[in-house]
Symmetry: C2
Subunit: 137 residues, 2 copies
């Protein structure tokens, strides 16, 4: 839940499948893999700046992602904690925690559904591609 490090690549066949779920509010991405990871980092580090640093993003980009999430949902997902100076922290709101948990549950449903009956498809995949231009088309 709180691990913000990139997940290591898994060996085939499971690692051959990549799933992505995005929720849109108009043309803005209200929730997706990057924003869910950012919410978890804010929950872990207790600050927008520290979460951004942990994910290797600029403060400006991190802030824009938080602002976007907060504007897309009926209640904001991240709240800043009043306090003096640069140490001002941030936390997930109850709505932020609920949206994050529902998104992770969605991802788990997708992964479970994908695994049903995918073996014949994965079995047709090569372990590595042939050299470019060798396909004789």
């Amino acid at each position: 839940m709180h691990d913000t490090k990139p997940r290591p690549a898994r060996p085939r066949p499971d690692g051959a499948l990549k799933l992505k779920a995005q929720l849109f509010c108009g043309t803005e991405i209200a929730m997706g893999p990057g924003k869910a990871q950012l919410l978890e980092a804010i929950d872990l580090h207790g600050s927008i700046a520290a979460a951004g640093r942990a994910l290797g993003m600029s403060y400006r980009r991190t802030w824009l992602l938080v602002d976007s999430m907060n504007r897309c949902w009926d209640e904001r997902l991240v709240a800043t904690i009043a306090g003096g100076g640069s140490a001002r922290g941030a936390r997930l709101t109850p709505n932020g925690r609920a949206v994050l948990e529902a998104y992770r549950a969605l991802e788990e449903r997708l992964a479970a559904a994908a695994n049903i009956g995918i073996e014949p498809l994965l079995a047709r995949l090569r372990h590595a591609p042939l050299a470019p231009g060798s396909s004789e088309v």
Copy 2:
């Protein structure tokens, strides 16, 4: 199955969710939404060039995508039909048709799994985002 036109955007709440499944062979995308669409266009138009034109892609890019697909699977997905001149056609191989159908079935499983219990999450989404910078973080 043979419709290569972009699908019209659906109204919320269904339209708010976007799912993407990609199958990798090493670092190459062996199958994904764009390649599945290209296979359907080749099936419809009977030629790589015509399929690329229908999808608004250059011949070079179209050919590279076909070459990539053909190198990622145990048997190629697209075969060219021997013939004279520029009218030489292309068709899906039995393997190409099987991979395409299995990929579309995977997408259907994902969509069905996503829909189960997603209503509470979608209900929290605004119909349109608030103005940038208004989130008070």
